[in-house]
Amino acid sequence: MNDITSKREAQQRVDRIRAFRQDLARLERENVLTLSSEQRQGLEASLDHELEALAQRFDVDVTESQKQISWGMRIASTIGGLALCAAGFLFFHRFWGLLATPVQVAILMATPVCGVLAAEYAARRERTLYFAALLCLVAIASFIMNLSVLASIFNITPSPGGFLVWGAFALILAYHYRLRLPLVAGLVCLGTYVAAELTVFAGVFWPQFPEGSETLIPAGLLMLAVPLAVKHRQFPEFPAVYRLAGLLVVFLALLMLSLKMGKSYLLADAAVFYQVTGLVAGALAIWMGIRHRLPAMVNLGATFFVVFLYCRFVAWWWDWMPKYLFFLIIGLISVGLLSVFKRLRRTA
């Protein structure tokens, strides 16, 4: 048990113990295995002791109902965090016109700092970190409000620099408390910063980066590269977040470019190139996911592979083909894809 270092590993161990108990009960019912009462007592005592220790050390869910309630708490803390952010933002707007500029600046600056201190206080009081996660979200949103409102008060020309510091702040909180939601927030901000700077490099004004979706692709690739370059031994749940965020950014950018919703800096007529690239990237993600045993990567790759494929079918056939025939073909192709995925699943 000493080799367990994270709550996630502890929860996996608890789930395995629960599955082991269910299997043991089934084997005993089927008379495949019978333990003596001494053996049973010893085994139950050992497992109970381990569960108790894990629950005490990591505050894991030992029963199924505890697990369900934990999900509820996670959802409540996310919604609570967002609601608190909205409340803080609207409260400030309700009164900011009545405050002198130095008071406005002081409040704006103090809010994220207070958020960090409150998160630290909460983290020291409860091991589940639900309140700490909620307060981290509040701190990140306050920091975003801090710089945005400051820019508005002093009529500052917009620049992408804010995304860099917001991203750094969110990442520090994510690694400090080992929380995935601040990590996602940090990656969104840093991805935006990279895309905006590349847009400037291309000679375009930075707020237009969503239109030139190509700059999002290097941002996504950078996120994908992080788990390869940095070993996350103390944060085993983080590489998956980097991979999924990176893949999502790359796939969405490719999809926008393939549908001509985004404009290309590199090619005059880029749609066909990105349609093919999207399909290849989807297949590549599936292959990599299977090879490295990353189910989330396989699922995301398969989802976007199918989306890219169906987008093409709509573009090629929708206008001229009878609708019943179109959906029949889509249905048949889906059945074909299912059998391909089934075969892949068997070989994986």
Partner: protein
């Protein structure tokens, strides 16, 4: 280590705020690049919703009239292509009788300041220029200036507190006058605001 992480989170907040405030101080240091007297005709009052007590003035200006031709667009870095990305530039806004009008643009602010040296008459503001292909030739427009709304701080917001939004159209009698300054970084601020006689 844990304490260092916490301190660095706080440090990021403080350094970012200090960076912004130093930028503001630099912008407002020295002689302003423009000090222009405007009325409500050129700076419309904007209330930001019922639950927002903040006030802002939106600059209203007339777009280019003929001078943003192909030669000027090429000077701004555009080519003769059907579609191009909008580009950042600086626009000169001239205070004319009862309105602000865009009269020139360039990629850099320095030559414009030399050409339009009267700081009481001309504002040089960062903007975005866009082009389109119309009637077989390249045409351009100022898409927007980058700080179109100017925050009204205390005590000037008290002066405008009782006034409703500026009518969006039609000929109206201006209710207030303000002094608008632009600093070293071409960012504006209000240095004075007063009601006109009829509103007192």
């Amino acid at each position: 280590m844990k304490r260092l992480e916490l301190l660095s989170a706080v440090a990021v907040v403080l350094v970012a705020n200090a960076w912004v405030l130093v930028g503001v101080a630099l912008n407002r240091s020295g002689a302003p690049s423009a000090v222009v007297e405007l009325t409500e005709r050129e700076a419309h009052l904007v209330r930001m919703g019922e639950e927002n007590t903040g006030l802002a003035l939106r600059l209203v200006w007339a777009g280019p009239t003929g001078w943003l031709d192909r030669a000027k667009l090429e000077e701004l870095g555009f080519k003769s292509a059907p579609w191009q990305w909008p580009k950042p530039a600086f626009v000169v806004l001239e205070r004319q009788a009862g309105r602000l009008a865009a009269v020139d643009a360039a990629r850099d602010a320095a030559p414009l300041r030399k050409r339009y040296a009267d700081s009481k008459r001309y504002i040089i503001a960062p903007c975005m220029v866009r082009t389109w292909w119309g009637t077989e030739r390249l045409q351009g427009d100022i898409l927007k200036i980058l700080t179109p709304e100017i925050h009204v701080p205390l005590p000037y917001s008290r002066v405008l507190a009782g006034l409703g939004n500026t009518p969006s159209a039609g000929n109206f009698q201006p209710r207030y006058q303000l002094t608008l300054c632009y600093g070293q970084r071409h960012e504006p601020w209000i240095s004075d605001c007063r009601l006109l006689k009829e509103e007192r």
